[in-house]
């Protein structure tokens, strides 16, 4: 995420280190070196022990039949877990769920967030109140929203059913129908995240160059041309930043799906890769296979991020 953030902030490492090194005795340098080590060591130790070590260990475990409840025995099984993953029936379902959930979230929350930001980028009464309200769900936990929205979507007595009945429509079975269940978790997550994309786009719009707007006005550009040729190119770093952060966040959603559907209905109705890692490791007691799914997910994420960075680089030099 670092390149994303740097591109978007335009603070590329900030101003050069603000202090030109005055000539110093080596005693001072050594003391400064020791102090830096002391300040950094606890954090580095924690990251090494609980991020990088398990990342590598997870890779090792993916080639074993490890069981999380018997920490002693993990027999190497070669690539058996990977072969199993490629051949299993639920692999396609779960990959499909992950792709639908992730891309619907990224696309819809970014388009809606941008549209809302464009409409509210003018002096309107109550705009700040609306901004706070839209952002509020983003600070609330996914677990709480998942639990509460189960009742919003309840097909017998929920809010959605009541509203649909009032306009004479019938209510889909959000709890039993796999397609509608996936629709439910995706919609809930977009509802929670809209404030994030909206607020970031709004801030980016308010920091744009208005001399370009004026130039477009003088040239008599239509609103659409103005948007396409003037606004969108300026929003490019923001769009790039959002596409990466929203993607990384939505691929990792566990709490909301657990609270709302427990990965169901019908076993894997709303199971995504992340949820499958939990399910295989802690419910089916097959941590080796869970580690395999986690590794595959990590590689997919790395590949997508790499492609996004490349696309961004090409775009900015073109």
């Amino acid at each position: 995420m670092q390149p994303a953030a740097e591109v978007a902030t335009g603070v590329r490492a900030g101003p050069p280190p603000p202090v030109g090194p005055p000539p110093r005795r080596s005693g001072t340098d050594r003391r400064e070196w020791l102090l830096a080590a002391a300040l950094l060591l606890p954090n580095l130790a924690l990251l090494t022990l609980f991020v990088y070590r398990p990342l590598i260990d997870n890779f090792r475990l993916s080639f074993t039949d490890y069981n999380i409840s018997s920490p002693t025995g993990a027999t190497p099984v070669g690539t058996a877990n990977y072969v199993e993953w490629l051949g299993r029936d639920d692999t396609r379902t779960i990959l499909g769920n992950t792709v639908v959930f992730t891309f619907a979230t990224v696309l819809i929350s970014m388009v809606l967030g941008l549209a809302l930001a464009l409409l509210l980028d003018q002096k309107l009464r109550g705009r700040n109140v609306v901004r706070s309200l839209v952002f509020a769900p983003f600070v609330v936990s996914g677990a709480a929203i998942g639990v509460a929205f189960q009742f919003v979507f309840d097909p017998s007595f929920g809010l959605i059913r009541d509203l649909l009945t009032r306009v004479g429509a019938s209510t889909p079975d959000f709890f039993q129908d796999t397609g509608w269940a996936l629709f439910m978790v995706t919609t809930t997550y977009i509802w929670k995240n809209l404030g994030y994309t909206f607020v970031i786009y709004l801030a980016a719009l308010q920091g744009r160059r208005i001399d370009l707007d004026e130039a477009a006005e003088i040239d008599g550009a239509s609103p659409w041309t103005h948007f396409r040729r003037v606004l969108l190119p300026q929003l490019r770093p923001t769009t790039f930043f959002l596409s990466i952060t929203v993607l990384l966040n939505s691929v990792q959603v566990f709490d909301l799906i657990y609270a709302q559907t427990r990965g169901g209905p019908v076993g894997t109705g709303t199971t995504t890769l992340v949820f499958q890692v939990y399910q295989e490791t802690f419910v089916n007691m097959r941590a080796g296979y869970g580690a395999t799914v986690a590794t595959i997910m990590f590689l997919i994420l790395l590949a997508i991020t790499f492609v996004q960075v490349r696309v961004m680089d090409r775009g900015s030099t073109a």
């Binding site: 900030g14 340098d29 398990p54 600070v139 994030y196 790395l302």
Partner: protein, 286 residues
């Protein structure tokens, strides 16, 4: 973005049509966000038989606080609340301290390999939690730390994003002031406390707020680490409540949800500007 000549005052294209569209969008989005929140709130004040009626009631009559009483007494909600406070306080203290110290070393101290160390710290942002839980779970279980606070807190205490945020802040400080303090003979730690920190409060506040919000909302790791009220935080307690009551008795579940999110929403109400700054940091330089 850093090169804009003039900041838009938000009154471009003030055509009547755009104003009308703007107000229409505001009304739609308010309804979409507020109606479900309102629904959750009124359900938490309804009597049980009023929850299961068709068509639904949009105002609790009679209103009752029984659901809240049930939530607080029938499940150990006060214990979950206490656990959430402890976990959030410990993690926030650890992360803010480690983040500030790491950022300071990585921005204003000079030592060989500084950029490499910085890369090592922020590359951790690319590693999803889910890939580390299996191995971390095994390690913590072996130490006998399941259902303990140290088992929940220590594996989450490393800080990558906060280091990035604070380092950017420290690098943006005017070099002349820092140089002047150095020439006055201020040692590195005195420089941090007396010069660097006083100029960095807004960013530190934003960093602290997002840390509190994120740790309060943390789910997966505490959920795996704790299965009883000794250490489980509110979010985990809420899904346990849902296991016991959900479907048949939404009232207490909705009351539990309201109590779980209320502390964060109150914080948001008072400190939203700083919170938004922190949560959207990295995207737009304000």
């Amino acid at each position: 973005m850093s090169t804009h000549l003039q900041v838009s005052q938000g009154d471009r294209h003030r055509t009547p049509l755009m104003s009308v569209a703007g107000y229409a969008a505001m009304i739609v989005v308010v309804l979409v966000i507020a109606v479900p929140l309102f629904w959750i709130l009124i359900t938490s004040f309804k009597e049980r038989q009023d929850i299961y009626v068709r068509p639904a009631q949009y105002w609790p009559s009679p209103a009752t606080t029984d659901n809240y009483r049930d939530t607080v007494t029938s499940i150990p909600f006060p214990a979950y609340f206490r656990n959430s406070l402890i976990i959030t306080a410990l993690l926030a203290a650890a992360k803010i301290t480690l983040g500030v110290l790491s950022a300071y070393a990585l921005s204003l101290l000079r030592f060989p390999g500084r950029n490499l160390v910085f890369l090592v710290v922020i590359a951790a942002l690319m590693v999803p939690n889910q890939i580390t839980v299996i191995s971390n779970y095994a390690l913590i279980a072996q130490l006998g730390w399941r259902n303990t606070f140290q088992g929940i807190v220590i594996p989450l205490a490393g800080v990558a994003f906060g280091t990035f945020l604070m380092r950017n802040q420290f690098l943006s400080l005017p070099g002349e002031i820092i140089e002047a303090a150095r020439l006055d003979g201020a040692g590195p730690m005195k420089l941090l406390w007396r010069v660097v920190m006083p100029m960095s409060w807004p960013t530190l506040v934003a960093f602290s707020l997002i840390t509190v919000v994120n740790e309060w909302n943390e789910y997966l790791w505490p959920f795996l680490m704790s299965d009883n009220e000794k250490t489980a935080p509110l979010q985990v307690g809420l899904t346990l409540l849902q296991n016991n009551e959900g479907g048949n008795n939404w009232g207490p579940v909705m009351a539990g949800t309201v109590l779980t999110v209320l502390p964060i929403l109150i914080l948001f109400l008072f400190l939203q500007r700083q919170m938004i700054k922190g949560l959207t940091a990295g995207a737009v330089k304000s």
